[in-house]
Symmetry: C2
Subunit: 622 residues, 2 copies
């Protein structure tokens, strides 16, 4: 029997009430049918998340910066091993609680169209192709290719979702058909075609008037119709209640729940589906519709091997969690996600130099972890990574707070100046953290609800930077953010500029590997770095006009795809699908060869990441 | 000219208004006299504090547990080197801001009479002699023995000060003369006699009706009269305003300020002394009295070399801050401050055992730092120390929150059980942290204002412990607190019990050194570990009756001075001042030989810490 057949047979034994209850994310046990309680909510954005110890890989945006889909798939394999190991360990308790399950609500493949969006760092950046191939690699790694699915991947947030966070629960996006298909849906279709994700999560917002989690157009016509998606759809958390509370499209929760189920939203994160009984009593839904949704959900559970004894993943041991192999893989991904933006020759840095490490992000654990994260049992902050690799003394000063000055301890910049004066070279670790740019309700940037007001570093950081620049010491500037920041001043006044996204538990080690030249940097920007907030269209405007490298008419500070190495690479394209790559410099390096189309506009359409030794020539074919 | 003469000459050139302004802790510059602005407030309880990077030694109570005054003096030398290095680095800016100066408001030599006091971990415990010899060693290390003073030490809080935190600003202690001299003042007198501290800080509370910071009895009669103290007195921060606001002994700030200065409180932390001008206008103080205080303060500044070019400490370089030597010293102090309370033979632990490390304090940085702390640029949590020393796999789970359950992430104990089930042995790192037991305004234990309501671990920790005990795995229980906790259950149900006070930046390394047997433990309890809160007299009661090992009539779980090693030590006292110590076991160890008097009651009166090899015999003479 197929998984579908087994699901149909099991669901046929359920009462209507039992079926409705199974559409809630915290699905109850049905003991008489041997169905254990199962909580569908789990997260795995860049590691097994919110369930204690795990290998915390770099945040999604940092992994995108690696421009290395093969490495991404290896990372996702490691993640799903850890999710499985955790599931296997608790399964014998007879239930699976929140964040313990096999159904991962990752990846986030929204297009990072505006740098102000607080959740942009959960995405793979601004480009549809990069997003699509990274998403595909991630899904394949998560789901495996066995008889059973290893874990389920969930594409989110479907669709046209990228802020503002503060109004997301009632926001309507009017989007043109061109932008919809060319930009906002493109990666969803690509991933469905190439990786068969088990699930899709609906977004909070409405598109052209229809709330996404109950949109006939988006779910029935496009997703299941045009795209041929055959998995299950889950709502974002609380999104169904938003339909009546914020979108005002329905009158009450029963109507919202019915509208969602009738349009194909099978599973509810939140509380709305407890009103399904009321909806049924009011004849707003019929049992056949509910049955179809429950069958989809149980097909998934059968396909995950939850009701079998021969699942090939049941014996993944607890010891894979944060094992040495995963830690090594994490370090590699962190290295490849670091982007070198400027270098006057100071890098790689001589290990005998006395270093001042300055900045609020230098010893921050938060910036390692990003959001939607697990907990590493061992981690290396940027500062610790530098201290452990340096062969000389390292002086550390926080220098200033991240964005709001805590004056209780006096003027922190005085220590920073002393540190710099007593050192040969300064490494500044500035930027933001995931409590400043993040999700609504998560970040303390209250006015913007997790979004950034602009693309500037906070004032108190700017003042510290100017004070240190004034000392005349060589400066390596490390910008630690999940998004574009205006780095024009740093580009002009510092000797080197490094973009370090939220780099994971091994972030400090990886940064030190790059700074001291153990590896040549090979990351590239997955987003455009603009020079000014003035360059951006209004944040609420979802038109792609004048946005991202494809449509921006101005001159960026650092373009999408930009990233230096420690060597010189010559690309010689002998035809549109073949490039001869030569390393004419003095370092071995990883290098992503990027293929672009130019009609109707410049557009990435191919990525091959290679390792090339100094003096070597490699022919790359797409 | 002596420092006193130079001070007198300089102060003679000041106007009355200038003199009054110099009694504020943030003393302004007097440019025409070449006097730079100087902020008197600095802290150095267990490292240069609140001024950025420093070697963060174990909290005071942990250093007391070392029962090693010689090592304490070395630590204090290191601390004063770092304070000086920081001062030297900023001095050229022409002013010395808060926490940058040479006048350290440490040590805290209050008697930790009741385990509920939140600030008890800032002290050297419950015994007067241990407090006195540790305080003396600390002062000597801080002040040096050169031509100039290296830094100033300040004895605090004078006097009879140990909670409750919530009412400290208006609390009056009625104390008998016996308890006052025998317990509460004893260490003050000893330190003054043996180490000549530069300063004394008055307490918030009143004693027998007189607010301490303006007490004729305490300051004039006893401190300067009987004890012959010739330094300066500083108020606790805001304590002078308390005299009218909370003690209600005066009507307003001008009266409070006058009362304090007239009774010998030279320097004011807070704002009260800005009313000295008003007090002078009202004839509540005269210029001669103010002059005397200013002379004391400038004597101190001259003695610190602030107005000279030949001070032997002016060239202490920035590089001493957190230098390798200090880190090694820190590790040693952390090792010696760990107390082994029970061991059924499981310790030292075989490095090849697979370990589950469980508990909210396992990866806590807060517990390393204590309060009144600096910032380490590199530190090892208990978890990290264990991971780095273990030769097998370590599984980590937080297991529960410290005291208030955050249910957003589900039931954390499930992961802890999985960890334990997948390991050979469990190390539980439980206890409190300095945000739970601490100073008024500092700790979140709101009801008690930083004090503990009882001596029990929080309920959610107890539940986790019972759950893990039920698994039947061997358990090494590490209690991380700054105070006594009822460990009767753990003593009964765990294979080993370790008391780890807040152990400083190298705490995890030191704990691993002890657990895996790199060193034998040698710490001893500086406080009695009671079995029940019922054993304690009312917290507000300052009578020593039935308190501490000297007067407690019940049976403690672990007595004051208790602490196991990995070897067997025989003490043979051949006369009251001579002991023959023999190591008959299989480990080399440090060992504190304690001498007690028994009349009129058991009372510690001698400490000699020795290193004794296995098989060795050492004669110790007091």
């Amino acid at each position: 029997m197929t998984f579908e057949e087994r699901a149909r047979e099991l669901v046929a034994k359920m009462t209507f009430a039992e079926k409705m209850a199974q559409l809630k994310y915290d699905a109850p046990a049905i003991e008489r049918l041997g169905v254990p309680a199962y909580n569908w909510w789990n997260e795995a954005l860049h590691g097994a998340a919110r369930n204690g110890t795990a290998t915390v890989f770099p945040q999604a945006i940092a992994m995108a910066a690696s421009f290395n889909p093969e490495l991404m798939e290896k990372v996702a394999v490691a993640i799903s091993d850890e999710v499985r190991a955790k599931y296997n360990a608790v399964r014998k308790t007879g239930e699976t609680q929140i964040y313990e399950g096999l159904t991962c609500w990752s990846p986030n493949i929204n297009i990072f169209r505006d740098p102000r969006w607080g959740r942009g760092h959960e995405t793979y950046g601004e480009d549809t192709y990069l997003t699509a191939v990274m998403g595909t690699a991630f899904i394949k790694g998560l789901q495996g290719d066995g008889k059973y699915r290893k874990t389920d991947a969930t594409l989110k947030h479907y669709a046209v979702h990228s802020g503002p966070e503060g109004v997301r629960h009632g926001f309507n996006v009017d989007v043109s058909e061109k932008d919809l298909y060319e930009t906002y849906l493109w990666a969803f279709k690509y991933c469905i075609d190439n990786a068969k994700p088990s699930a899709v999560m609906g977004a909070y917002n409405a598109v052209n008037g229809e709330p996404c989690c109950a949109s006939k157009t988006l779910l029935e016509d496009i997703l299941r119709g045009e795209f041929g998606f055959d998995g299950y759809v889950v709502s974002d958390c609380g999104a169904i209640c938003d339909i009546n509370n914020h979108h005002k499209v329905t009158e009450n929760e029963a109507e919202s729940a019915a509208l969602a189920v009738n349009n194909g939203c099978d599973l509810n994160c939140g509380t709305a589906y407890q009103w399904l009984k009321t909806a049924a009593a009011l004849n707003l839904i019929d049992e056949d519709t509910v049955t179809k949704s429950v069958e989809r959900l149980f097909t998934a559970r059968f396909r995950l091997g939850m009701f079998d004894e021969d699942c090939e993943y049941d014996n993944i041991p607890y010891d894979v969690i944060e094992c040495d192999k995963h830690r090594a893989l994490n370090r590699q991904m962190a290295q490849e996600g670091i982007v070198l933006l400027k270098n006057n020759g100071i890098l790689p840095l001589d290990k005998s130099k006395k270093i001042a490490v300055i900045g609020p992000n230098a010893d921050s654990v938060k910036v390692l972890l990003g959001n939607y994260n697990g907990v590493p049992s061992i981690y290396n902050t940027l500062l610790r990574g530098i201290i452990e690799e340096s062969e000389a003394r390292v002086n550390y000063a926080m220098g200033c707070d991240l964005c709001v000055a805590d004056k209780a301890l006096g003027d922190k910049s005085r220590e920073a100046v002393a540190c710099a004066e007593n050192s040969d070279v300064v490494i500044m670790c500035m930027g933001l953290d995931p409590s400043y740019e993040g999700e609504e309700g998560d970040a303390y940037n209250a006015e913007m609800s997790g979004d950034k007001p602009d693309i500037e570093l906070p004032d108190l950081q700017r003042k510290l930077i100017e004070k240190i620049v004034a000392l005349g010491k060589p400066i390596i500037f490390v910008n630690v953010t999940g998004s574009c920041i205006n780095l024009a001043y740093e580009d002009k006044n510092c000797d080197a500029v490094i973009q370090c996204f939220y780099p994971g538990a091994e972030g400090g080690t990886a940064l030190a590997d790059v700074i001291f030249g153990k590896v040549s940097p090979s990351g590239r920007l997955p987003v455009t770095f603009y020079k000014s907030t003035e360059d951006l269209p209004p944040f609420e405007d979802y038109s792609m006009k004048n946005r991202t490298y494809k449509f921006f008419k101005g001159e960026p500070l650092y373009p999408f795809g930009f990233g230096l190495t420690y060597t010189d690479i010559k690309e010689n394209w002998i035809d549109e699908n073949t490039a001869i790559i030569t390393n004419t410099g003095n370092y071995d390096t990883n290098y992503s060869v990027l293929k672009y189309e130019y009609i109707p506009h410049k557009s990435l359409c191919g990525i091959k990441k290679i390792f090339i030794e100094k003096g070597q020539t490699i022919k790359v074919t797409f």
